[in-house]
């Protein structure tokens, strides 16, 4: 598969002044277009064997035996496809997030909200042969961050996805339907033309488990092939 050149208009600009950290860290020159070579169309392959039994269960994967993380029980699931609509099977999806109070378990994080001794904030799953993935967690809290003003991140989960070639590598964030902070977030709003909406996961009532956990659906699209073949069966 050879990759179609990346459409930069769908991504935040390298320097988005309202997101202060990007001012000194975003390249000032446009990236140079190159052909996709074997270096970009191949990439690391991880077997399902890398996963431990609790890697997709953030409620329990850091908890003491018999304990669970505090927070709203949440299922996140979706499908990874490419720009041609084809499933991206057997690819690794890594996620990380704050706890229910909006605090990360990280040495550089000093927000007032307490750590939850039973929550690590890290998980990983693989997509199946249809590109589907699913994990369980607690809904992360919103948190304030130093950006020069009264800035709060909406509740979000960070996603890292591999795809089948190194040129498809993507990191993004998932937001939750109905969160008024998305519209106020300089990071989410750095995506042009209201594109933040594409990262808002709707509440999925079908998958919501009564008396247990609400579900959210988050589909991810990776870069696709140069020519769209007409087989295009997902």
């Amino acid at each position: 598969m050879t990759l179609r050149p990346r459409d930069m208009s769908g991504h935040p600009p390298a320097i988005a002044p309202a997101y202060r950290s990007s001012r000194l860290r975003g390249p000032t020159q446009a990236p140079i277009a190159i052909p996709a070579t074997p270096t970009e169309t191949t990439g690391p392959v991880f077997g399902h064997g890398v996963l431990g039994p609790l890697d997709g269960d953030l409620i329990r994967n850091f908890a003491a035996p018999g304990q669970m993380a505090i927070g709203q029980r949440t299922i996140v699931h979706g499908r990874v496809t490419d720009e041609a609509g084809r499933a991206v099977p057997n690819t690794l999806v890594e996620v990380w997030q704050a706890n229910a109070g909006g605090r990360y378990r990280h040495a550089k994080e000093g927000y007032l909200a307490p750590l939850d001794p039973n929550f690590g904030g890290c998980g990983r799953v693989m997509t199946d042969d249809q590109g589907r993935y699913r994990f369980e967690t607690v809904k992360p809290g919103a948190y304030p961050w130093p950006n020069g003003g009264n800035d709060w991140r909406p509740a979000h989960i960070h996603f890292s996805v591999f795809g089948s070639g190194f040129g498809q590598r993507l990191i993004t964030q998932m937001y939750f339907e109905g969160d008024p902070l998305v519209a106020r977030c300089p990071i989410a709003q750095s995506i042009p033309a209201g594109g933040a909406e594409r990262l808002v996961a709707p509440l999925d009532w079908e998958e919501t488990v009564p008396m247990d956990a609400r579900a959210y659906r988050f589909d991810i699209i990776l870069r696709g092939p140069l020519a769209t073949p007409f087989e295009a069966t997902p």
């Binding site: 001012r23 990380w96 990191i171």
Partner: protein, 179 residues
């Protein structure tokens, strides 16, 4: 059926929790951090190190960098993940010297692909490390890079291998690639 790629978002300051939890102080979640183990591959051993510098020349010490390269025979298959939170913001990679790789009827010069994410980086940055002593005349990727900027993609020999510093901005801004 054509869909648009999902928008990118910054990896943020806590990316280590997700990508290298053992290193980030969350032991026991995973057996080990992916991409952290020693590289066992055919080829001549080589050590690479470098820093990532922002527009004021400050070392970016909260980045994660991934490597994808060929082994000494030119076959892609070596992947590694490193952080830049060493004492000077250095990342270090003990790997093998990649071999030339066939592409489009010709040969690409030996190279190592890098992908960099961090707080303040809105879309993962792709670049390449080349080695100054190789023949780059037929390389299809370098051919797209203005001659005056090609030096930003060349490793610099040092005492125990090579250095490759990445400049996010400034007169020496590294060439980043849109594949």
């Amino acid at each position: 059926m054509t869909q648009r790629e999902s928008p990118s978002q910054t990896a943020g300051p806590y990316v280590h929790i997700g990508l290298m939890p053992n290193h980030a102080g969350l032991p026991g979640l995973y057996d080990g951090d992916l991409g952290a183990g020693p590289i066992m591959a055919e080829g001549q051993p080589v050590t690479l190190r470098g820093r990532i510098l922002d527009g004021e020349g400050a070392s970016v010490t909260d980045a994660v960098l991934e490597v994808w390269q060929a082994d000494g025979t030119g076959t892609p298959g070596i992947w590694a993940r490193r952080s830049t939170d060493g004492p000077d913001g250095d990342w270090v990679l003990d790997t093998v010297r990649p071999g030339p790789m066939r592409f489009d009827g010709g040969w690409m010069a030996p190279h190592i692909a890098l992908w960099i994410v961090a707080r303040g980086i809105n879309l993962g940055l792709q670049t390449r490390i080349y080695f100054p002593e190789d023949d780059h005349s037929a390389d299809a990727v370098l051919a797209q890079v203005p001659p005056g900027r090609r030096r930003t993609l060349m490793a610099v020999p040092d005492a125990d291998g090579y250095r490759f510093d990445i400049h996010l901005q400034g007169p020496d801004e590294t060439v980043f690639l849109n594949i």
